[in-house]
């Protein structure tokens, strides 16, 4: 099963590398976020009680997590394309394990997202954002990115099979990602939020991802806060992955 996963993963990576334009486009969006939100909320950093001096510094983890969400939520759409193209059938009539088919897709999506996030980090650092570039903390941050990407790619693949159509899938993808971003401290510190949003953010895995990434990459390192987020995300990724695999296993007309 591991070998199957590895070979299929290799195939997806190879295809991605052959579409460099696509990867480039996915980078443009977060950079635009960074510029727009960075200017829009610039003055917020002057408010008393704001944790960082520059808003960009505060917002970087949010942009990284947005990249993860938008990057991995497309995974299901390409699964539907593969079903239409017959690629999935070709795998299903072979002895390849079904689990591998899902795993390789999700793994590919997560790895791709991690690479994108690294590139954005480098660009942001070049623009003068003060990010910790210590490899160890960077690695910790990427772990969070990885598990969050796994979770959302799993959700996307699971919904793709459950819904069988692209349009509602894209709708659900948007519905999941945007509000959840705002119900987190990606853009606004918790202290500035109304209580009800604070309460929602407590059960929002995206909030934990943002907090954890911020804990290791921006300002003072807070390993306790980080560890809490990591545990939440591992559980979240595990549950969504199990669901996606289950849904795919049941796929039979």
């Amino acid at each position: 099963m591991l070998a199957d996963t590895w070979h299929l993963f290799g195939k997806y990576m190879r295809i991605t590398i052959r579409m460099p334009m696509w990867s480039l486009f996915t980078l443009i969006q977060p950079l635009i976020w960074l510029v727009i939100f960075g200017s829009l909320f610039k003055n917020m950093a002057q408010l008393p009680g704001f944790p960082t001096d520059s808003y960009i510094d505060y917002f970087i983890p949010g942009v990284l997590i947005m990249t993860v969400l938008f990057g991995s939520s497309w995974s299901g759409v390409s699964l539907l394309r593969e079903i239409t193209a017959g690629t999935v059938d070709r795998m299903l009539v072979s002895p390849v394990s079904r689990v591998s088919i899902v795993l390789s897709r999700i793994l590919h999506s997560a790895v791709q997202v991690v690479l994108q996030v690294l590139i954005i980090l480098i660009v942001a650092a070049l623009f003068g954002a003060s990010i910790t570039l210590n490899p160890f903390y960077l690695l910790l941050g990427m772990l969070i990115v990885f598990f969050l990407a796994v979770a959302f790619a799993a959700l996307s693949n699971g919904f793709a099979i459950a819904l069988q159509r692209e349009e509602p899938l894209v709708m659900i993808g948007n519905l999941m990602t945007l509000p959840l971003m705002f119900f987190s401290t990606a853009m606004v510190p918790a202290a500035f939020m109304p209580t009800w949003i604070q309460n929602i953010s407590l059960v929002n895995p995206i909030n934990y991802a943002v907090e954890s990434v911020r804990a290791v990459l921006v300002g003072d390192i807070e390993l306790g806060l980080y560890a809490k987020g990591l545990v939440v995300l591992i559980v979240f990724a595990g549950v969504t992955l199990a669901w996606a695999v289950n849904t795919f296993n049941a796929l039979r007309d």
Binding site: K11, G86, D89, S94
Partner: protein, 430 residues
């Protein structure tokens, strides 16, 4: 190799895709599943290759039960689907390499096998190009080569030459035949090209509405058709002509008559001898014949007889239903529908039957992918006056939901079985 008994599959939508299908394929033969769109060909292949589940029946594929030994079935079969599933952004070699991996072959084995298959299919030069640069015929060859990487003994080809030009099609036929002759592969292919089944297969199964209608070698099937056929096209398509033409078809030397659009096909014992008699009879009946041609039995005739009226009606029964009724009620559908409305009461049988059929022909035109056969069958057979169109009635009873309603409704079979010679009747009426 394959043994299927009573295979039934109902989709979640309620459509009965397969309805008690029986099929046996011997080791080493090429079997063609021939049938119209929506007959259940692809569904049958999907069940046999473990892609689809089913509701009832027993399915042995490549010698293993698809239910209990799915893994062994998958290991022993090669599948070339309509949607091929090769990755366009990989090269031919990479596609085959990956396929070999999926069958857990060793790297050396895969490499040797790729060389072997590439020379076999003349793909050597294209092997390291991206598949997106391949022509349709080349891609098809790669599909088949890829599906053979693990040396399966049983291969499914679902519409292998669909959408290819004549040259590529003939080339592919040569390869398929070679695979069977030289490597002894058992091949089950589906097609709706008659000549493909005729040229390529050892035996043909004609499938319609999820059932196998007839099985045999192309020769057997052809010899089962009653003699030669004479095709008549008429000067005008007025009802009078139609009625007279029908009367023409009732003569005793004519074994069967089938309407194909506005052409009338008459099956006779001896074609050349009948031409003069038909021309004479036409003159007697006052029908002007525009053209007359004679043809030897072909698989075409077999196909038409066995898939006849139900051509595609099983595809979207529900959707067609309103249309049939509408057309039948003279809503402006069929070519002759107005006239049939008037005659519905007095003429009875044949009129309304033909009416329904012609309406249906129209209704089906949209989905009728380039096939020329029109479904208006009115068979008058073998002097069984009580049941002049046995196939029609069988179809109506056998079909579920949609057409059933139609069949038993205003033009139930009682209508036309009580007066077999509808044509004569109408002629008298004129």
């Amino acid at each position: 190799m394959i043994r299927v008994k009573g295979l039934t599959k109902v989709f979640a939508s309620g459509t009965k895709a397969l309805d008690g299908l029986d099929l046996e394929v011997e080791s080493g033969e090429i079997m063609a599943l021939l049938g119209p769109n929506g007959a259940g060909k692809t569904t049958a292949i999907r069940v046999l290759s473990t892609l689809s589940g089913f509701d009832a029946g027993e399915v042995i594929s490549a010698g293993y039960n698809v239910d209990s030994d799915g893994e062994k079935v998958r290991q022993s079969i090669g599948v070339v689907a309509q949607q091929t599933g090769v990755d366009y952004l990989l090269t031919g070699r990479e596609n085959m390499m990956l396929q070999g991996r999926m069958y857990r072959m060793t790297t050396n084995d895969i490499k040797a096998r790729i060389d072997e298959l590439a020379s076999y299919f003349d793909l050597n030069e294209a092997l390291d190009r991206l598949v997106s640069t391949y022509s349709g015929g080349m891609r098809r060859k790669l599909d088949i080569a890829t599906a053979l990487i693990h040396r399966p003994q049983l291969v499914f080809l679902d519409e292998p030459t669909l959408g290819l030009d004549i040259k590529s099609r003939k080339m592919l036929w040569a390869y398929i035949e070679k695979l069977n002759k030289e490597l002894g592969l058992t091949i089950l292919l589906t097609t709706h090209y008659l000549e493909e089944a005729d040229n390529l297969s050892h035996r043909v199964s004609i499938i319609c509405a999820g059932k196998i209608r007839v099985v045999g070698t192309p020769e057997e099937l052809k010899s089962g058709v009653k003699g030669d056929s004479v095709i008549l096209e008429f000067e005008n398509s007025e009802p009078a002509t139609q009625a007279a033409a029908n009367a023409l078809g009732e003569q005793d030397f004519i074994k069967e008559k089938v309407w194909e659009g506005n052409k009338l096909r008459l099956y006779v014992e001896n074609g050349s001898a009948s031409v003069a008699r038909i021309a004479q009879a036409a003159a007697d009946n006052g029908v002007v014949i525009k053209s007359l041609s004679l043809s030897q039995p072909s698989l075409d005739d077999v196909y038409l007889i066995h898939t006849g009226t139900s051509f595609e009606s099983n595809e979207e029964e529900g959707a067609d239903e309103w249309w049939k009724q509408w057309a039948g009620k003279g809503g402006g559908g069929g070519k002759w529908s107005k006239q049939w409305d008037q005659q519905e009461d007095d003429a009875g049988g044949d009129a309304s039957l033909t009416d329904g059929s012609s309406g249906e022909a129209e209704a089906n035109e949209g989905s009728n992918e380039g096939s020329k056969e029109k479904p208006s069958v009115a068979q008058s057979t073998d002097g069984a006056a009580e049941q002049p169109w046995p196939q029609q009635s069988e179809w109506k009873q056998g079909d579920d939901a949609g057409s059933g309603q139609w069949g038993q409704g205003e033009w139930g079979k009682g209508d036309w079985s009580k007066d077999g010679s509808g044509g004569d009747n109408r002629k008298d009426g004129k």
